[in-house]
Amino acid sequence: MRWIEKKWVSVSLLWIAVLCIWQLGAVVYGPDVIPGPWSTLKGGQELLADGTLTKYIGISFYRVLVGWVLGSLVAIPVGLIIGKVNVIRIFAEPFLNFIRFIPPIAFITLFLVWFGIGEQSKIALIMYATFFIVVLNILTGVMSVEEDKIRSARSMGASEWQILLHVIVPATIPYIFTGVRIAMGTSYMAIIGAEMIASNEGVGYLIWNSRLFFRTDWIFVGLFCLGFMGFFTDRLLGWFGKKVLFRYGVVSVAGKRR
């Protein structure tokens, strides 16, 4: 193997190249338009020193996590029931397909009116962002359970409830997992929007508020934090899926090579 094909060599070369281009951009356009790596680092240090960055990350993360967990917990049984009961599905499907085109951000004002300015409205927004994606994924999952599996369970004496619990749920787990994983991404998008418009804390607030001081370096810090938060939670989720849910056919998307 040639030395350049070693993974750590190629990855570090890539990152060095990215940093160089970034720095070049900063030099050409000036640090106010594109803050370079060094000034971003300084900005980050500044925000870390007075504790705002850690606090903001914690707050945004808390909102996403609570809303995402609650949203998923509501969505999983709802999705299973809609998928399993034909009558409900016939009524629910047009509604689901209508509402899924309305992005969470569009609801911010309404949610503020309905749930108040506090945490509730943000968490409700994340729940909204999570709910429909998870439900629609579960629906696809339930619909694609092979007829033979249900038939064989039925002829082995399983009741409808046992079929739901012992056949449909386990067969749908890969779809549920994909659903909650995608929902995690949309949750981050929703919370940043909400924090930009209606919050005094959080990473979204940091990004939005920095414009007042023209601190583009702080904006860069916010963007990096978002990227890392999403990256780590997704990796954690992927790892969990691979370790715990492998028998249900959950595969890690990130780790898969073709």
Binding site: D148, S155, M156, A171
Partner: protein, 258 residues
């Protein structure tokens, strides 16, 4: 013997399955006016070309497909839904086995649904896993098994529920020729050991002659019917090279050459 033969017998009279074609305003029959009596403990073959409705007939006996007319009684009870007394072995093991369960858990599925005590489940699954020759593979998942082994799991899984009737829908159709031969021999042994009624669907004349006591020939659809029934009293294990086998083969072959 006569008592046993009456038990678990299947009586089919003027059985029909139709579907209406709204565009033509016409009624089409998949099978029409099928009359058939299958004795308890008999190994019966349904032989016919693809699309002749033999799977439909099997699915009707299983209770998966409702009838459009006529009578269908198992053990003197009209069939209207799947039941524990009629086990189905599907053509595709991949779509009917539960991939998230181990071989043992798959075999114990019906018993678990019935809430059989754990120790008893274990004893029964051990017995049938041994019967189909899968001892040592209990803790494997279906995806770790070959096609033939998966069909053995299916067989053990239905036998564990101790059904009176085994309905088999081309179970060896997807196997390679050598594995198929082994499976055919073992199925005959299992049948002779357990005295189940077996209805076996196939389009392979040789398979039909190797396995069955009686062979029902189904005509090409639509409005398919059982046109002829052949007795095959050759002793098991059957010799493909024998003169009687050859003669019977030619007679049946003649049906499909018109």
């Amino acid at each position: 013997m006569t008592l046993l033969a009456k038990q678990n017998a299947i009586h089919i009279e003027q059985l029909r399955k139709s579907y209406s074609e709204p565009s033509v305003g016409d009624v089409h029959y998949i099978i029409k006016d099928v009359d058939l009596v299958i004795k308890g403990g008999e190994f019966f073959i349904l032989l016919g070309p693809s699309g002749c409705g033999k799977s439909t007939l099997l699915n009707m006996i299983a209770g998966f497909v409702s009838k459009s007319g006529g009578n269908l009684r198992v053990n003197d009870v009209e069939v209207n839904k799947p039941g524990r007394d009629r086990a189905v072995v599907f053509q595709q093991a991949d779509s009917s086995l539960f991939p998230w369960l181990t071989v043992r858990q798959n075999v114990e599925f019906g018993l678990r649904m019935k809430k059989t005590p754990k120790e008893e489940q274990r004893l029964i699954s051990d017995r049938y896993i041994r019967l189909v020759g899968l001892t040592g593979h209990e803790e494997k998942f279906p995806k770790e098994l070959s096609g033939g082994m998966k069909q053995r799991v299916q067989l053990a899984r239905v036998l564990a529920n101790d059904p009176a009737i085994l309905l088999m829908d081309e179970p060896f159709g997807a196997l390679d020729a050598m594995t198929r031969r082994t499976m055919q021999k073992e199925l005959v042994n299992i049948w002779r050991e357990t005295h189940k009624t077996v209805i076996f669907v196939t389009h392979d004349i040789q398979e039909a002659l190797l396995l069955g006591e009686r062979i029902g020939i189904m005509s090409v659809g639509p409005s398919s019917n059982i046109t002829d029934i052949y007795d095959n009293s050759l002793s098991y294990p059957r010799d493909v090279a024998s003169q009687q086998f050859y003669n019977l083969y030619n007679t049946i072959q003649g049906h499909f050459e018109e």
